[in-house]
Subunit: 330 residues, 2 copies
């Protein structure tokens, strides 16, 4: 069949509010460094009032991944829920301007567009405090079957796995994709997220996921093992699907088709803000996979994309990844 | 008397929407490169729909200047009008987080918070398209007499000089400042702005302004002369007040107290986006002047502040100008 999209992503549609901070701020507010924590509107207001001047940039994990795929020259679509407010307009403008198809209707009642307070410490680590707003009402009606049918890969953001209607939306996406012979990918998103939903994530993967993306902490949490080597061994026992495990400066490990390959990271020349590193790894990995490239090459393209996004603030590419990849993938 | 503030600024309270662009985009939309143009909500929507992905950062000329003064360690206050919406919250958060007192009430009816589409070309020039929104209703009620009384210098943004109630607000600020023996500064803001209001600007300066800030195009327009040398000569004929004329890479000329001094620019090591160069020159100049420093030193501090803001996107300092000035003003 002919596909309209290489990859379609489902996720939390979020505007990032990025400010530099220091460890004292994190300590004062009791924030877990490097993690993503869900917060209430009240907590968001309290933290915001104490934060440094900020910049607003569209974000959202799967949305960042789709923007990266479009920047690589791929055809990407996105489904996620914003409210009909100024930040919702900002989100819609930016993802469309990035070249990603985005037609999920804006909510006209309920909470405002989601925002994520991204606190970047001098070591380039990011600590994320997310007020989910309009995202909490994402449901099956927001999954456009025609888009999922027309996408080689549908990509599910683990963060979204929380409310019953979001889980139902995932199941609809899996059902429609597989009915059309398309692949389904899942990112585990966050170690705390895996911890909350371990049994359900395992069942979801078992029943409907073809490709799993995770970082070390997430994959160790999924399999409840003590060491990354044990987690990779556990993935190899499920080698009928593809696994991509990112290991920061150690590169990534890709498993599938009877092979397990350690792919070294790209040389990093500039490190400012690690926000989006995993999201952009997914861009390169999934786009190359949608083009039927070998797994090791998928991982390398993931590393190239991640190296760009950590060189500046914000979780979306600032330069053409297509041009960057052409230079770096020789 | 004892002052609560070194400088208080009045201006258009605006959130900048910054995107990279190219000359072809400017040509396609018929935009005057390097200028600030006022646009309608409809034109703003049309341009925005065609723009690249953007970042939102608080801006506004006098607001940027006040943020710079706070970053220098000065005490700054700001008066400007936002609407009670998300961008209004962003503006309020950022200016307060920068350390500037800001208590103008948000409008609860009328147009939304102003935004400026800032299009940055590869030559680092910025072309600004401003939808004024809530700013158009700025009036005398928004000028807090208690703040003006308690400020060594009150700083008026020429951009605001348009509607009758804004002009009345300026006159109120001049009246209150002078009744308390305080100084009044004015920036001419933009050459087209001067062209629209030349006679009124001249009368305003004659009647109530102690310190005038302008760039070459603005001062040439004010005096309707052919060359910058003639404009500087015209300023010298009004040497009972202070004039600071910025000349980009040629530095600036300061006139006052019977002297006319050419001060060379700082060495520029990184040039990304010239947005805010004039605003931050005003930060350094006005703060030093409020501390009774010699004019040439005021200009030098202006150059140091401007050099920081052009090294990155956005018109507010990203590092402590106090620390920078301590290193550079030795």
């Amino acid at each position: 069949m002919s596909y309209s999209y290489d990859v379609a992503g489902l996720g939390n549609a979020i505007v990032d509010v990025i400010a530099r901070t220091d460890d004292a701020f994190l300590a004062r507010h009791g924030l877990a460094k490097g993690a993503m924590t869900l917060i209430s509107a009240e907590t968001a207001d309290r933290l915001y009032a104490d934060m440094e001047p900020a910049i607003e940039v569209s974000g959202g994990s799967a949305a960042n991944t789709m923007a990266g795929i479009a920047s690589l020259g791929g055809r990407a679509a996105y489904m996620g829920r914003v409210f009909a407010d100024q930040l919702g307009q900002v989100f819609r403008h930016d993802i469309r301007a990035a070249g990603v198809a985005f037609d999920t209707a804006a909510a006209s009642s309920g909470p405002p567009t989601a925002r994520c307070l991204v606190l970047v410490t001098p070591d380039a680590q990011r600590t994320m405090q997310t007020y989910l707003g309009a995202c909490v009402d994402f449901g099956p009606a927001d999954v456009a079957a025609s888009v999922v049918e027309a996408s080689r890969i549908v990509y599910l953001e683990g963060y979204l796995w929380d409310k019953p209607q979001a889980k139902e939306a995932f199941r609809k996406a899996v059902r429609v994709a597989h009915a059309n012979g398309n692949k389904v990918a899942l990112t585990l998103s966050d170690a705390f997220c895996v911890d909350r939903h371990r049994a359900e994530f395992r069942a979801l993967i078992e029943d409907g996921i073809d490709i799993v993306l995770a970082n070390e902490a997430e994959i160790v949490s999924l399999w409840q093992v003590g060491a990354i080597e044990d987690a990779i061994a556990a993935c190899q026992q499920h080698a009928d699907r593809i696994w991509a495990v990112t290991r920061s400066e150690k590169g990534s490990v890709v498993i599938g088709g009877g092979t397990c390959t350690h792919v070294p990271a790209e040389k990093i020349t500039r490190l400012v803000d690690t926000t989006g590193a995993g999201d952009l790894y997914a861009s390169g990995f999934l786009y190359a996979l949608s083009q039927a490239r070998p797994l090791a090459e998928c991982a390398r393209l993931g590393h190239v994309c991640a190296s760009e996004v950590i060189s500046h603030y914000g979780a979306r590419p600032e330069i053409s990844l297509k041009v960057l990849a052409a230079a770096r993938m020789k």
